[in-house]
Subunit: 245 residues, 2 copies
Amino acid sequence: MAGLLSLFNKKKTEPPQCSAVIVAAGSARRMEGIDKALAPLGELPVLVHTLYAFQDCPAVEEIVVVTREDLLVEVGRICKDFAFDKVTKVVVGGAERIHSVQAGLREVSPQAELIAIHDGARPLVSQEIIGEAVSAAAVTGAAAPAVPLTDTIKRAEEGRTAETVDRSALWAVQTPQVFEAGLIRGAVQKALDDGELPTDDCGAVERLGMPVTLTRGSRENIKITTPLDLVVGEAILQARGEGLL
Amino acid sequence: MAGLLSLFNKKKTEPPQCSAVIVAAGSARRMEGIDKALAPLGELPVLVHTLYAFQDCPAVEEIVVVTREDLLVEVGRICKDFAFDKVTKVVVGGAERIHSVQAGLREVSPQAELIAIHDGARPLVSQEIIGEAVSAAAVTGAAAPAVPLTDTIKRAEEGRTAETVDRSALWAVQTPQVFEAGLIRGAVQKALDDGELPTDDCGAVERLGMPVTLTRGSRENIKITTPLDLVVGEAILQARGEGLL
């Protein structure tokens, strides 16, 4: 892992530099026909909030956006209108998330040492969350933000509880998931070669037997997948504006 | 389990009757000093919303509220002011949740066949959620609403992921948790005798080797434990008012 070693030799004061792949290629299945990426959140499309977070992040040098073919023109227009000048490419994704990730990875500059893969539908990600994941990945090669589970979790069979699950070691993982560039390229290719569809990008890396460092996530870093999520997202945005969160 | 058998012999058209224990005895640790039960949510205290849901539910005959000693007068006043005439007792809870549940169970009418135990801090519970849990418990003896996990879940050791957990059989359990009266009284007593503190009331029943039927919960049936939850709760309430949810 030469890329990782070279990072260790950098001066500690130099912030790690990284490219971001923003995946906004999902269908609108759970959203009653509204498109997740373009749904309005506080007067701006969800994706605009997401892109602002990465555009404003000093650790991110370059952004590649992956979207659906029918959104290509609209997403391109958004990048131009909002002057997201870190966006170097807007490309079409694939059938499953991992195909979209692969399409994005292909367009990332070969000079990138770290690649942060982020859900386009997580518009409320903070600079701190991105920064901590990038910093941790610079040291360990793979990192992702996570939050502890707070609900009581049951394992159930045929609609009846079988046991209460010990939640103390369980974490809900968010994005951005940040990896040493060679590692994530290899892990995604290997998963595709093996015909596997990991639930997230960490899953592809874990398949290689490599652990992922968990960094501090936030319950505000929600993924917009249902109309309820949009309502919650609006409320978080407004509360932030009023200094309540 | 004679109580359960007697329920089977009832006419199918007769709705099961049940007493509710509303537990609002928690401290304000995670709420920056604001009390969960009395925090304002859409102009009314959280607990008022909760009590309205049970007061309006035809399946519920009686409500026992368990609270902290310092809130006893205020909670009593609320029940009077809002004419919650199903509330028969307001009692003081104990150090841990299970002690509060036990204090509530003691005050439930001996005639109650089913007992629904509900978090006072879940003010957005719907009639459907209460009704389905009560109906299922009338048949199986124990039921609780639950929602499937949607996040990617990792098992982690020392801050690094060990594995991705198969979430397909995992459920986040909510309240009300409804039980045949003798069963929950026995289960809570047994847990206390054994020095155990189950995370929820289902856990006390599961310890006896008895499964709990899972019924349809809702992601709107949130538990108010942090300032973020209050923001989210406000938004859900407002969206319901506007017919958005």
